[in-house]
Subunit: 117 residues, 2 copies
């Protein structure tokens, strides 16, 4: 590598049914499936369910990270995916990760900010 | 809680000496210290050192998350802190977390984006 290669970070708030925002096992299955499909490398993760029913999770990748924090009482989640371009350009994979997540949650994106960093 | 209360997310790239960007134990000590000082609640974490010397880390908080991905070869790191306002307004704590991190790393912020979400 000869250059610093920032990557794309998508920050989103999406809306979906309460059920999926209370089921961290479902979320882990979705994220693990996408990580596998996109040949990303997971190096650790935390899925923390709250007593009230929501959950908060971060997944650490060699390529950077994914996070989700759910608000089932409002049918909302804040969701991030950030992949660096260290070894190759992962910009398309950030979009794919985002779209596959929205699809799997059968969600509507309320906001989607794209930041190159 | 009666309202959805988005929180502040700071996304930064900072510059500092190579040594601190290769020492994930130092980073964990810094983050744990700040989490303690600010009375935040950690529910899990991943610190992953790379063979090349950098590291990538995510810390999961009940209030949301912190992440860092280091590029020691460029004396750079991408750093995020995001705290929701679920039970109280944590906006000041996001700024404090950011400033204490920059101070502890003896770093210069190259970029600092503030997003309310």
């Amino acid at each position: 590598m000869t250059n610093y290669k920032p990557g794309l970070h998508i920050l989103s708030t999406f809306s979906c049914t309460t059920e999926k925002l209370m089921d961290h096992v479902f979320c882990k299955r979705v994220f693990d499936g996408i990580i596998n499909e996109l040949s990303l490398q997971k190096v650790g993760e935390v899925y923390h369910p709250f007593p009230e029913g929501g959950y908060t999770a971060v997944v650490c990748l060699t390529e950077s990270h994914v996070s989700i924090h759910t608000w089932p009482e409002f049918q909302l989640a804040t969701f991030d995916v950030f992949l660096s371009n260290f070894e190759k350009d992962n910009t398309d994979k950030v979009h794919e990760f985002f779209n596959k997540t929205i699809g799997s949650f059968n969600a509507s994106a309320i906001s989607q900010q794209e930041i190159y960093r």
